[in-house]
Symmetry: C2
Subunit: 254 residues, 2 copies
Protein backbone atom coordinates (compact mmCIF):
# COMPACT_ATOMS: atom_id res chain seq x y z
CA UNK A 1 0.00 0.00 0.00
CA UNK A 2 1.82 3.11 1.24
CA UNK A 3 5.00 3.25 3.28
CA UNK A 4 4.68 6.93 4.19
CA UNK A 5 1.70 9.21 4.39
CA UNK A 6 1.67 12.90 5.17
CA UNK A 7 -1.58 14.50 6.26
CA UNK A 8 -2.10 18.22 5.82
CA UNK A 9 -4.75 20.10 7.76
CA UNK A 10 -5.67 21.31 11.22
CA UNK A 11 -9.46 21.02 11.03
CA UNK A 12 -11.90 18.37 12.17
CA UNK A 13 -11.45 16.07 9.18
CA UNK A 14 -7.66 16.04 9.51
CA UNK A 15 -7.98 15.57 13.27
CA UNK A 16 -10.20 12.50 12.92
CA UNK A 17 -8.11 11.02 10.10
CA UNK A 18 -5.02 11.35 12.27
CA UNK A 19 -6.78 9.63 15.19
CA UNK A 20 -7.94 6.63 13.16
CA UNK A 21 -4.62 6.30 11.31
CA UNK A 22 -2.82 6.20 14.64
CA UNK A 23 -5.33 3.72 16.03
CA UNK A 24 -4.96 1.47 12.97
CA UNK A 25 -1.15 1.89 13.01
CA UNK A 26 -1.10 3.20 9.45
CA UNK A 27 2.23 4.73 8.33
CA UNK A 28 1.34 8.34 9.07
CA UNK A 29 4.71 10.10 8.79
CA UNK A 30 3.57 13.52 9.91
CA UNK A 31 0.66 15.93 10.17
CA UNK A 32 1.22 19.39 8.78
CA UNK A 33 -0.99 22.10 10.23
CA UNK A 34 -1.00 25.69 9.15
CA UNK A 35 1.98 27.57 10.55
CA UNK A 36 0.82 31.10 10.31
CA UNK A 37 3.28 33.92 10.84
CA UNK A 38 1.60 37.27 10.97
CA UNK A 39 3.48 39.88 8.97
CA UNK A 40 1.55 43.08 9.24
CA UNK A 41 -1.99 42.24 8.14
CA UNK A 42 -1.06 39.18 6.10
CA UNK A 43 -0.35 35.67 7.24
CA UNK A 44 1.94 33.33 5.36
CA UNK A 45 1.86 29.56 5.59
CA UNK A 46 5.14 27.75 5.69
CA UNK A 47 5.46 24.40 4.00
CA UNK A 48 9.22 24.44 3.82
CA UNK A 49 9.61 21.76 6.46
CA UNK A 50 7.38 19.26 4.67
CA UNK A 51 9.00 15.88 3.98
CA UNK A 52 8.73 13.64 0.95
CA UNK A 53 6.03 10.96 1.19
CA UNK A 54 4.32 8.39 -1.04
CA UNK A 55 0.88 9.84 -0.31
CA UNK A 56 -0.19 13.33 0.65
CA UNK A 57 -3.70 13.68 2.06
CA UNK A 58 -4.84 17.29 1.84
CA UNK A 59 -7.61 17.75 4.40
CA UNK A 60 -7.89 21.52 4.37
CA UNK A 61 -10.80 23.83 3.57
CA UNK A 62 -12.07 23.65 -0.01
CA UNK A 63 -10.62 26.94 -1.13
CA UNK A 64 -7.14 26.15 0.25
CA UNK A 65 -6.69 22.88 -1.68
CA UNK A 66 -5.22 24.49 -4.79
CA UNK A 67 -2.75 26.61 -2.84
CA UNK A 68 -1.62 23.86 -0.49
CA UNK A 69 -1.15 21.36 -3.31
CA UNK A 70 0.83 23.95 -5.25
CA UNK A 71 3.18 24.48 -2.28
CA UNK A 72 3.86 20.75 -2.16
CA UNK A 73 4.24 20.57 -5.93
CA UNK A 74 6.95 23.26 -5.76
CA UNK A 75 9.08 20.82 -3.82
CA UNK A 76 8.00 17.33 -4.77
CA UNK A 77 6.10 17.23 -8.10
CA UNK A 78 9.17 15.59 -9.70
CA UNK A 79 9.15 12.79 -7.12
CA UNK A 80 5.69 11.80 -8.45
CA UNK A 81 3.83 11.10 -5.19
CA UNK A 82 0.07 10.44 -5.04
CA UNK A 83 -1.85 13.49 -3.83
CA UNK A 84 -5.49 13.35 -2.71
CA UNK A 85 -7.92 15.72 -1.09
CA UNK A 86 -10.83 14.85 1.23
CA UNK A 87 -13.49 17.25 -0.04
CA UNK A 88 -16.97 16.33 -1.22
CA UNK A 89 -17.51 19.28 -3.48
CA UNK A 90 -14.14 19.93 -5.11
CA UNK A 91 -13.05 18.15 -8.32
CA UNK A 92 -9.86 16.13 -8.42
CA UNK A 93 -8.41 18.74 -10.79
CA UNK A 94 -8.23 21.32 -8.02
CA UNK A 95 -5.03 19.58 -7.01
CA UNK A 96 -1.99 21.16 -8.70
CA UNK A 97 -1.62 19.69 -12.19
CA UNK A 98 2.12 19.30 -11.86
CA UNK A 99 1.15 16.17 -9.97
CA UNK A 100 0.44 13.33 -12.40
CA UNK A 101 -1.15 11.13 -9.74
CA UNK A 102 -4.17 12.81 -8.15
CA UNK A 103 -7.23 11.49 -6.40
CA UNK A 104 -9.90 11.88 -3.74
CA UNK A 105 -10.38 10.18 -0.39
CA UNK A 106 -13.70 11.56 0.84
CA UNK A 107 -15.36 10.37 4.06
CA UNK A 108 -19.11 11.05 3.78
CA UNK A 109 -19.61 12.18 7.36
CA UNK A 110 -19.69 15.26 9.56
CA UNK A 111 -16.90 15.50 12.11
CA UNK A 112 -16.71 17.39 15.39
CA UNK A 113 -13.65 17.93 17.51
CA UNK A 114 -15.55 16.89 20.63
CA UNK A 115 -17.10 13.67 19.30
CA UNK A 116 -15.46 10.39 18.35
CA UNK A 117 -16.06 9.18 14.80
CA UNK A 118 -17.38 5.71 14.01
CA UNK A 119 -15.12 5.18 11.01
CA UNK A 120 -16.28 1.60 10.43
CA UNK A 121 -19.68 2.83 9.16
CA UNK A 122 -18.49 5.90 7.24
CA UNK A 123 -18.95 5.59 3.46
CA UNK A 124 -15.53 6.25 1.90
CA UNK A 125 -15.65 7.70 -1.60
CA UNK A 126 -12.50 7.08 -3.61
CA UNK A 127 -11.33 8.31 -6.96
CA UNK A 128 -7.98 8.34 -8.76
CA UNK A 129 -6.45 8.73 -12.22
CA UNK A 130 -5.21 5.17 -12.51
CA UNK A 131 -6.58 1.82 -11.49
CA UNK A 132 -3.44 1.16 -9.49
CA UNK A 133 -3.79 4.33 -7.40
CA UNK A 134 -7.50 3.68 -6.99
CA UNK A 135 -6.69 0.22 -5.64
CA UNK A 136 -4.18 1.63 -3.18
CA UNK A 137 -6.61 4.28 -1.94
CA UNK A 138 -9.32 1.65 -1.73
CA UNK A 139 -7.09 -0.56 0.43
CA UNK A 140 -6.21 2.35 2.67
CA UNK A 141 -9.90 3.18 3.10
CA UNK A 142 -10.73 -0.46 3.85
CA UNK A 143 -8.31 -0.26 6.78
CA UNK A 144 -10.69 2.16 8.49
CA UNK A 145 -14.15 1.61 6.96
CA UNK A 146 -16.37 -1.30 5.94
CA UNK A 147 -17.99 0.78 3.18
CA UNK A 148 -15.64 1.91 0.40
CA UNK A 149 -16.73 2.83 -3.11
CA UNK A 150 -15.19 4.25 -6.27
CA UNK A 151 -17.11 7.45 -6.97
CA UNK A 152 -16.60 9.80 -9.92
CA UNK A 153 -16.13 13.54 -9.40
CA UNK A 154 -19.66 14.08 -10.78
CA UNK A 155 -21.27 11.54 -8.46
CA UNK A 156 -19.31 12.84 -5.51
CA UNK A 157 -20.57 16.37 -6.21
CA UNK A 158 -24.13 15.05 -6.22
CA UNK A 159 -23.51 13.09 -3.00
CA UNK A 160 -22.19 16.25 -1.43
CA UNK A 161 -25.43 18.08 -2.25
CA UNK A 162 -27.39 15.24 -0.65
CA UNK A 163 -25.06 15.48 2.36
CA UNK A 164 -25.60 19.23 2.66
CA UNK A 165 -29.33 18.61 2.61
CA UNK A 166 -29.51 15.87 5.22
CA UNK A 167 -26.93 17.49 7.48
CA UNK A 168 -26.89 21.30 7.09
CA UNK A 169 -30.50 21.84 6.05
CA UNK A 170 -32.11 19.53 8.58
CA UNK A 171 -29.86 20.88 11.34
CA UNK A 172 -31.00 24.40 10.46
CA UNK A 173 -34.62 23.21 10.62
CA UNK A 174 -33.91 21.82 14.11
CA UNK A 175 -32.46 25.22 15.03
CA UNK A 176 -35.47 27.17 13.76
CA UNK A 177 -37.97 24.74 15.30
CA UNK A 178 -36.15 25.27 18.60
CA UNK A 179 -36.77 29.00 18.20
CA UNK A 180 -40.50 28.36 17.92
CA UNK A 181 -40.46 26.33 21.12
CA UNK A 182 -38.37 28.91 22.96
CA UNK A 183 -40.73 31.68 21.88
CA UNK A 184 -43.40 29.82 23.88
CA UNK A 185 -41.07 29.85 26.90
CA UNK A 186 -40.59 26.11 26.57
CA UNK A 187 -37.38 24.06 26.42
CA UNK A 188 -36.30 23.30 22.81
CA UNK A 189 -35.01 19.95 24.10
CA UNK A 190 -38.70 18.94 24.11
CA UNK A 191 -38.23 18.25 20.41
CA UNK A 192 -35.36 15.81 20.88
CA UNK A 193 -37.37 12.60 21.36
CA UNK A 194 -39.29 13.41 18.18
CA UNK A 195 -36.10 14.23 16.26
CA UNK A 196 -34.50 10.97 17.40
CA UNK A 197 -37.56 8.90 16.51
CA UNK A 198 -37.80 10.59 13.10
CA UNK A 199 -34.36 9.20 12.33
CA UNK A 200 -34.74 5.87 14.16
CA UNK A 201 -37.81 5.10 12.04
CA UNK A 202 -35.48 4.87 9.06
CA UNK A 203 -34.15 1.62 10.54
CA UNK A 204 -37.48 0.00 9.62
CA UNK A 205 -38.73 1.95 6.64
CA UNK A 206 -37.73 4.35 3.88
CA UNK A 207 -38.32 8.10 4.29
CA UNK A 208 -41.02 7.74 1.66
CA UNK A 209 -42.86 5.13 3.74
CA UNK A 210 -42.30 7.09 6.96
CA UNK A 211 -43.74 10.35 5.59
CA UNK A 212 -46.68 11.80 7.52
CA UNK A 213 -48.03 15.28 8.19
CA UNK A 214 -50.43 17.86 6.81
CA UNK A 215 -48.77 18.21 3.40
CA UNK A 216 -48.58 14.42 3.01
CA UNK A 217 -52.33 14.11 3.56
CA UNK A 218 -53.18 17.26 1.62
CA UNK A 219 -54.49 19.16 4.64
CA UNK A 220 -54.33 22.71 3.25
CA UNK A 221 -56.20 24.17 6.25
CA UNK A 222 -53.44 23.14 8.66
CA UNK A 223 -50.73 24.26 6.22
CA UNK A 224 -52.35 27.69 5.98
CA UNK A 225 -52.66 27.93 9.75
CA UNK A 226 -48.96 27.11 10.08
CA UNK A 227 -48.03 29.68 7.44
CA UNK A 228 -50.09 32.35 9.23
CA UNK A 229 -48.22 31.57 12.43
CA UNK A 230 -44.83 31.68 10.72
CA UNK A 231 -45.60 34.95 8.93
CA UNK A 232 -46.35 36.52 12.30
CA UNK A 233 -43.62 34.86 14.34
CA UNK A 234 -40.81 33.46 12.19
CA UNK A 235 -41.06 35.04 8.70
CA UNK A 236 -37.56 33.73 7.93
CA UNK A 237 -39.08 30.27 7.61
CA UNK A 238 -42.15 31.00 5.48
CA UNK A 239 -40.47 30.39 2.12
CA UNK A 240 -38.88 27.10 3.21
CA UNK A 241 -42.10 25.82 4.78
CA UNK A 242 -44.02 26.70 1.61
CA UNK A 243 -41.45 25.14 -0.68
CA UNK A 244 -41.21 21.90 1.29
CA UNK A 245 -45.00 21.66 1.54
CA UNK A 246 -45.29 22.18 -2.21
CA UNK A 247 -42.65 19.53 -2.78
CA UNK A 248 -44.51 17.09 -0.50
CA UNK A 249 -47.77 17.86 -2.30
CA UNK A 250 -46.09 17.23 -5.63
CA UNK A 251 -44.73 13.92 -4.41
CA UNK A 252 -47.78 12.54 -2.65
CA UNK A 253 -50.90 14.30 -3.93
CA UNK A 254 -50.42 14.83 -7.68
Amino acid sequence: MFDSIILIGGGNVAHHISLIFEEKKLPLHSIITRQSTRVGNRSSHEFEQIALAELYIIAVSDDAIAEVSSKIADQYADANPLVVHTSGSIPTEAIDNRFKRRGVWYPLQTFSRSRSADWYTIPMCISANTRRDANSLFSLAREVSSNVQYISDESRAALHIAAVMVNNMTNHIFDLAGDIVEAEMLDPDMLKPLIKETVSKLDNMSPNQAQTGPARRGDQAVINKHLDYLRANLPQLVAAYKALSASLTKRFRE
Copy 2:
Protein backbone atom coordinates in the same frame (compact mmCIF):
# COMPACT_ATOMS: atom_id res chain seq x y z
CA MET B 1 -57.41 9.62 39.32
CA PHE B 2 -59.80 7.82 36.95
CA ASP B 3 -61.67 4.59 37.56
CA SER B 4 -62.68 4.04 33.98
CA ILE B 5 -61.18 5.27 30.73
CA ILE B 6 -62.50 4.73 27.24
CA LEU B 7 -60.15 5.23 24.33
CA ILE B 8 -61.55 6.01 20.88
CA GLY B 9 -59.48 5.51 17.74
CA GLY B 10 -57.96 2.86 15.51
CA GLY B 11 -54.82 4.67 14.37
CA ASN B 12 -51.22 4.62 15.56
CA VAL B 13 -51.71 7.02 18.48
CA ALA B 14 -54.66 5.04 19.90
CA HIS B 15 -52.76 1.80 19.33
CA HIS B 16 -49.74 2.96 21.32
CA ILE B 17 -51.84 4.54 24.08
CA SER B 18 -53.68 1.25 24.47
CA LEU B 19 -50.40 -0.68 24.69
CA ILE B 20 -48.89 1.55 27.38
CA PHE B 21 -52.15 1.73 29.38
CA GLU B 22 -52.30 -2.06 29.41
CA GLU B 23 -48.64 -2.29 30.36
CA LYS B 24 -49.12 0.21 33.20
CA LYS B 25 -52.37 -1.49 34.28
CA LEU B 26 -54.36 1.73 33.92
CA PRO B 27 -58.17 1.34 34.06
CA LEU B 28 -58.76 1.19 30.33
CA HIS B 29 -62.37 0.03 30.09
CA SER B 30 -62.54 -0.34 26.33
CA ILE B 31 -61.14 0.79 23.02
CA ILE B 32 -63.64 1.95 20.42
CA THR B 33 -62.49 1.71 16.85
CA ARG B 34 -64.50 2.85 13.87
CA GLN B 35 -67.20 0.33 13.04
CA SER B 36 -67.96 1.09 9.46
CA THR B 37 -71.00 -0.41 7.81
CA ARG B 38 -71.08 0.26 4.11
CA VAL B 39 -74.54 1.32 2.93
CA GLY B 40 -74.31 2.02 -0.76
CA ASN B 41 -71.48 4.52 -1.17
CA ARG B 42 -71.65 5.87 2.38
CA SER B 43 -70.21 4.46 5.56
CA SER B 44 -71.73 5.12 8.98
CA HIS B 45 -69.89 4.84 12.24
CA GLU B 46 -71.72 3.29 15.14
CA PHE B 47 -71.10 4.57 18.63
CA GLU B 48 -74.27 3.10 20.11
CA GLN B 49 -72.42 0.44 22.03
CA ILE B 50 -70.16 2.94 23.82
CA ALA B 51 -70.25 2.72 27.62
CA LEU B 52 -70.16 5.47 30.21
CA ALA B 53 -66.69 6.31 31.54
CA GLU B 54 -65.01 8.97 33.68
CA LEU B 55 -62.57 9.87 30.92
CA TYR B 56 -62.88 9.63 27.16
CA ILE B 57 -59.65 9.91 25.19
CA ILE B 58 -60.41 10.75 21.57
CA ALA B 59 -57.38 9.68 19.53
CA VAL B 60 -58.84 9.98 16.04
CA SER B 61 -57.78 12.06 13.03
CA ASP B 62 -58.02 15.83 13.51
CA ASP B 63 -61.09 16.32 11.37
CA ALA B 64 -63.05 13.53 13.09
CA ILE B 65 -62.69 14.93 16.65
CA ALA B 66 -65.79 17.14 16.46
CA GLU B 67 -68.00 14.39 15.06
CA VAL B 68 -66.80 11.68 17.43
CA SER B 69 -67.16 13.93 20.50
CA SER B 70 -70.63 14.92 19.36
CA LYS B 71 -71.66 11.23 19.11
CA ILE B 72 -70.52 10.67 22.69
CA ALA B 73 -72.19 13.89 23.86
CA ASP B 74 -75.50 12.66 22.42
CA GLN B 75 -75.42 9.89 25.00
CA TYR B 76 -73.36 11.08 27.90
CA ALA B 77 -73.04 14.88 28.02
CA ASP B 78 -75.40 14.93 31.03
CA ALA B 79 -73.18 12.51 32.96
CA ASN B 80 -70.43 15.17 32.83
CA PRO B 81 -67.37 13.04 32.01
CA LEU B 82 -63.98 14.52 31.14
CA VAL B 83 -63.29 14.38 27.39
CA VAL B 84 -59.85 14.96 25.87
CA HIS B 85 -58.30 14.66 22.44
CA THR B 86 -54.69 13.83 21.58
CA SER B 87 -54.05 16.23 18.71
CA GLY B 88 -51.26 18.77 18.48
CA SER B 89 -52.98 21.16 16.12
CA ILE B 90 -56.64 21.18 17.21
CA PRO B 91 -57.93 23.52 19.95
CA THR B 92 -59.69 22.12 23.00
CA GLU B 93 -62.92 23.71 21.74
CA ALA B 94 -63.15 21.25 18.87
CA ILE B 95 -64.61 18.86 21.45
CA ASP B 96 -68.41 19.12 21.55
CA ASN B 97 -69.37 22.05 23.80
CA ARG B 98 -72.13 20.10 25.52
CA PHE B 99 -69.23 18.71 27.52
CA LYS B 100 -68.32 21.07 30.34
CA ARG B 101 -65.06 19.28 31.10
CA ARG B 102 -62.75 19.26 28.09
CA GLY B 103 -59.01 18.95 27.70
CA VAL B 104 -56.02 17.76 25.73
CA TRP B 105 -53.61 14.90 26.33
CA TYR B 106 -51.04 15.31 23.54
CA PRO B 107 -47.95 13.11 23.25
CA LEU B 108 -45.30 15.03 21.26
CA GLN B 109 -44.03 12.08 19.25
CA THR B 110 -44.48 10.27 15.96
CA PHE B 111 -45.90 6.75 16.26
CA SER B 112 -45.63 3.80 13.89
CA ARG B 113 -47.58 0.57 14.11
CA SER B 114 -44.38 -1.43 13.59
CA ARG B 115 -42.21 0.33 16.19
CA SER B 116 -42.45 0.33 19.96
CA ALA B 117 -42.79 3.73 21.63
CA ASP B 118 -40.47 4.89 24.41
CA TRP B 119 -43.22 6.57 26.44
CA TYR B 120 -40.92 7.44 29.33
CA THR B 121 -39.18 10.12 27.21
CA ILE B 122 -42.23 11.45 25.35
CA PRO B 123 -43.14 15.04 26.30
CA MET B 124 -46.81 14.96 27.37
CA CYS B 125 -48.68 18.21 26.80
CA ILE B 126 -51.72 18.61 29.04
CA SER B 127 -54.50 21.14 29.12
CA ALA B 128 -57.92 21.30 30.78
CA ASN B 129 -60.64 23.78 31.78
CA THR B 130 -60.17 23.36 35.51
CA ARG B 131 -57.20 22.90 37.77
CA ARG B 132 -58.70 19.70 39.10
CA ASP B 133 -59.02 18.09 35.66
CA ALA B 134 -55.57 19.33 34.72
CA ASN B 135 -54.20 17.64 37.85
CA SER B 136 -55.93 14.37 36.99
CA LEU B 137 -54.65 14.43 33.41
CA PHE B 138 -51.20 15.33 34.69
CA SER B 139 -51.23 12.32 37.03
CA LEU B 140 -52.38 10.04 34.25
CA ALA B 141 -49.58 11.30 32.00
CA ARG B 142 -47.01 10.85 34.79
CA GLU B 143 -47.95 7.17 34.87
CA VAL B 144 -46.45 6.78 31.40
CA SER B 145 -43.98 9.63 30.91
CA SER B 146 -41.27 11.42 32.89
CA ASN B 147 -41.90 14.67 31.03
CA VAL B 148 -45.36 16.20 31.56
CA GLN B 149 -46.23 19.87 31.11
CA TYR B 150 -49.29 22.07 31.14
CA ILE B 151 -49.42 23.66 27.69
CA SER B 152 -51.99 26.17 26.43
CA ASP B 153 -53.82 25.65 23.14
CA GLU B 154 -51.73 28.44 21.62
CA SER B 155 -48.41 26.98 22.76
CA ARG B 156 -49.45 23.52 21.68
CA ALA B 157 -50.27 24.84 18.19
CA ALA B 158 -46.78 26.36 18.03
CA LEU B 159 -45.21 23.13 19.29
CA HIS B 160 -47.09 21.26 16.60
CA ILE B 161 -45.56 23.49 13.90
CA ALA B 162 -42.12 22.80 15.35
CA ALA B 163 -42.97 19.09 15.34
CA VAL B 164 -44.07 19.20 11.70
CA MET B 165 -40.79 20.86 10.84
CA VAL B 166 -38.44 18.49 12.65
CA ASN B 167 -40.41 15.40 11.66
CA ASN B 168 -42.26 15.88 8.36
CA MET B 169 -39.96 18.41 6.73
CA THR B 170 -36.67 16.76 7.61
CA ASN B 171 -38.06 13.36 6.64
CA HIS B 172 -39.00 14.78 3.25
CA ILE B 173 -35.48 16.18 2.90
CA PHE B 174 -34.11 12.68 3.63
CA ASP B 175 -36.43 11.35 0.93
CA LEU B 176 -35.32 13.91 -1.68
CA ALA B 177 -31.64 13.52 -0.80
CA GLY B 178 -32.10 9.78 -1.33
CA ASP B 179 -33.38 10.57 -4.83
CA ILE B 180 -30.18 12.44 -5.60
CA VAL B 181 -28.09 9.47 -4.47
CA GLU B 182 -30.22 6.99 -6.41
CA ALA B 183 -29.93 9.11 -9.56
CA GLU B 184 -26.18 8.44 -9.34
CA MET B 185 -26.93 4.70 -9.17
CA LEU B 186 -25.80 4.64 -5.55
CA ASP B 187 -27.57 3.29 -2.46
CA PRO B 188 -29.50 6.01 -0.56
CA ASP B 189 -28.56 4.15 2.65
CA MET B 190 -25.12 5.72 2.14
CA LEU B 191 -26.62 8.80 3.78
CA LYS B 192 -27.70 7.03 6.95
CA PRO B 193 -24.46 7.36 8.97
CA LEU B 194 -24.48 11.08 8.22
CA ILE B 195 -28.16 11.43 9.13
CA LYS B 196 -27.58 9.58 12.41
CA GLU B 197 -24.54 11.65 13.29
CA THR B 198 -26.39 14.87 12.45
CA VAL B 199 -28.86 14.00 15.19
CA SER B 200 -26.39 12.41 17.62
CA LYS B 201 -24.36 15.61 17.61
CA LEU B 202 -27.28 17.27 19.38
CA ASP B 203 -26.37 15.23 22.48
CA ASN B 204 -23.31 17.47 22.87
CA MET B 205 -24.29 20.76 21.31
CA SER B 206 -27.19 22.88 20.16
CA PRO B 207 -28.21 22.90 16.47
CA ASN B 208 -26.87 26.44 16.37
CA GLN B 209 -23.43 25.29 17.54
CA ALA B 210 -23.53 22.24 15.25
CA GLN B 211 -24.32 24.22 12.10
CA THR B 212 -21.83 23.84 9.25
CA GLY B 213 -22.01 23.97 5.47
CA PRO B 214 -21.71 26.36 2.53
CA ALA B 215 -24.52 28.70 3.63
CA ARG B 216 -23.17 28.81 7.19
CA ARG B 217 -19.78 29.96 5.93
CA GLY B 218 -21.23 32.20 3.22
CA ASP B 219 -19.82 30.15 0.33
CA GLN B 220 -22.03 31.47 -2.48
CA ALA B 221 -20.01 29.66 -5.17
CA VAL B 222 -20.88 26.24 -3.74
CA ILE B 223 -24.52 27.27 -3.17
CA ASN B 224 -24.80 28.34 -6.82
CA LYS B 225 -23.22 25.09 -8.00
CA HIS B 226 -25.75 23.14 -5.93
CA LEU B 227 -28.64 25.20 -7.28
CA ASP B 228 -27.45 24.60 -10.86
CA TYR B 229 -27.41 20.88 -10.18
CA LEU B 230 -30.86 20.93 -8.60
CA ARG B 231 -32.36 23.00 -11.43
CA ALA B 232 -31.16 20.37 -13.87
CA ASN B 233 -31.88 17.27 -11.81
CA LEU B 234 -34.38 17.90 -9.00
CA PRO B 235 -36.19 21.19 -9.73
CA GLN B 236 -38.74 20.30 -7.04
CA LEU B 237 -36.10 21.13 -4.45
CA VAL B 238 -34.74 24.41 -5.79
CA ALA B 239 -37.11 26.67 -3.85
CA ALA B 240 -36.54 24.87 -0.54
CA TYR B 241 -32.77 24.82 -0.98
CA LYS B 242 -32.79 28.53 -1.78
CA ALA B 243 -35.08 29.41 1.11
CA LEU B 244 -33.09 27.41 3.67
CA SER B 245 -29.80 28.83 2.38
CA ALA B 246 -31.23 32.35 2.65
CA SER B 247 -32.43 31.60 6.16
CA LEU B 248 -28.98 30.29 7.12
CA THR B 249 -27.35 33.36 5.61
CA LYS B 250 -29.71 35.58 7.55
CA ARG B 251 -28.90 33.77 10.77
CA PHE B 252 -25.14 33.49 10.44
CA ARG B 253 -23.87 36.09 7.99
CA GLU B 254 -25.93 39.23 8.55
